[in-house]
């Protein structure tokens, strides 16, 4: 890393003959790894957590897609599924957890509460109206709570988005 300070290796690679091919195949390999191995942070807040558990259980078995390892430590999580109601007392904790996760990290807002505050938008003095006010969200899965199929569908959509990534367009140092 030290050698590369201030120098973006990507521009060098692209100037090489066949650099494009190299980058494309690199992209393919990286994206295949990332998209097929999304470990989740075990982070259930409310009702949606139960459907998240159901998605992990036999009937729906999200291990099939590589979401197998529910990681209790944010250090090993790739995505945070915010499953449930976020209230103001929880805000600093969610922010800390997000910052503790290593890059690249993804956030899935599961259910109405995480998207917008859900049924508690009005008349609740503690609600946070959508987790996007705290952390950047990649995928929204509507429902109250969403069915496990909906969760799986959302996660597969996330995989598709990851497959569209390229080191070429990623910010320097974060590819």
């Amino acid at each position: 890393m030290g050698l590369m300070n201030g120098l973006d290796p990507r521009s060098l690679v692209l100037r090489m003959p066949g650099g494009n091919v190299l980058i494309s195949s690199l992209d393919a390999a990286i994206n295949a790894s990332r998209s097929n191995s999304l470990w989740t942070l075990t982070f259930g807040l409310a009702c949606c957590a139960i459907e998240m558990m159901a998605a992990g259980a036999s009937t729906y078995d999200w291990a099939r897609f590589g979401f197998e390892v529910p990681s209790a430590s944010p250090r090993r999580a790739d995505m945070m599924i915010v499953a449930g109601t976020v209230v103001r007392k929880m805000v600093p904790i969610i922010r800390t957890l997000y910052q503790q996760m290593p890059d690249p990290k993804y956030v899935v807002a599961m259910g109405g509460c995480a998207i917008s505050g859900g049924p508690y938008v009005y008349d609740s003095y503690t609600i946070v109206r959508g987790v996007e006010e705290i952390v950047p969200v990649d995928i929204y899965i509507p429902g109250c709570p969403p069915r496990p199929e909906a969760l799986l569908d959302g996660l597969i959509k996330l995989q598709e988005r990851i497959r569209g990534q390229s080191v070429r367009t990623a910010p320097a140092g974060q590819a």
Partner: protein, 351 residues
Amino acid sequence: MGHFLYDLFYRTDVLLDAWRTAAHQSWAMRGWPVVILDVLFQLGWAAAAAVFLAVNALFIIWFERKLAARIQIRRGPNRVGPWGILQTLADTGKMLIKEDIIPDAADRGVFKAAPLMVLASTFLLFVVLPFGRGLVPADLNVGLLYFLAIGGLSVIGILAGGWASNNKYSLMGGMRSAAQIVSYEVPAVLTVLSIALLAGSLKLGDIVRAQPAFGYILLQPVGFLLFLTASNAEINRGPFDLPESDSELVSGFVTEYSAMRFAIFFLAEYTNLFLAGAFAATLFLGGWRGPLLPPVAWFLIKSYFVVFLLIWIRWTFPRLRVDHLMAFSWKVLLPLALANLFITAVLVKVL
């Protein structure tokens, strides 16, 4: 050609010896120092062991996932590659390119060294592991002792990792692990001693050769169970997986580890699983010996069978409590192992 293949698979020791002698002669004829050749030979072994270690871990993790899924009436990974066999590869690839976090409060040097210490202790065990007749980097005279001594080394890495993370959960995980490995080392040693008594040697090759066709398991059924339990506890797997128990200590000593450093711990853990199976196979199931199939195949079949047993156990039982775990070792396993050793000694003397 067929002759060569036969030699390669069934008489590997003869082939290797012949090859080594020939190489030695030719180096000596040219006046080159033979020491370099020996070093090269050992480096070759090391490379082979490293490749095996990686491939084996990839396979064993997939195997465990699929088997666990089978036990739990679900499918397990099936999207990456046929039957999801490349799932582990995807996981490894992802961890390689993930951000590597070292907490601010951590002891950086120790934090970085800890995973390597654990991996090194596992890697070193391959030195004495006989994969087949003569297929062993160094069949030491004190092979059994070496296995016990080096096998206990991983505790240093675990303790270092737990301490360096500067996290209470990590520290508690590390401490538990240290206590656990040290306590279960004792019954393991005593059990292995009775094998040494029977075989009359500490050399693993000799122990395999000394076994009757059915292995020592029939002479030492209690010993086998003791060894299986103790080694299961030593590799920190369920139901003895307290150092990294999810529900109590988040992830124990690996709580603060991310990306590749965690992957190394993971690699070491699954290599240890294989080694537990391999040594159980070597000491109790007759190692590489068996009819028809080549020795290597027999060795792998037996090892993976024990691994299968360990996985089965892990996915069936709840976790022990930490004091029960200690009590189990000192109050149950140790007296049993002592009694087993005593009876073995008497029988060996009498018969």
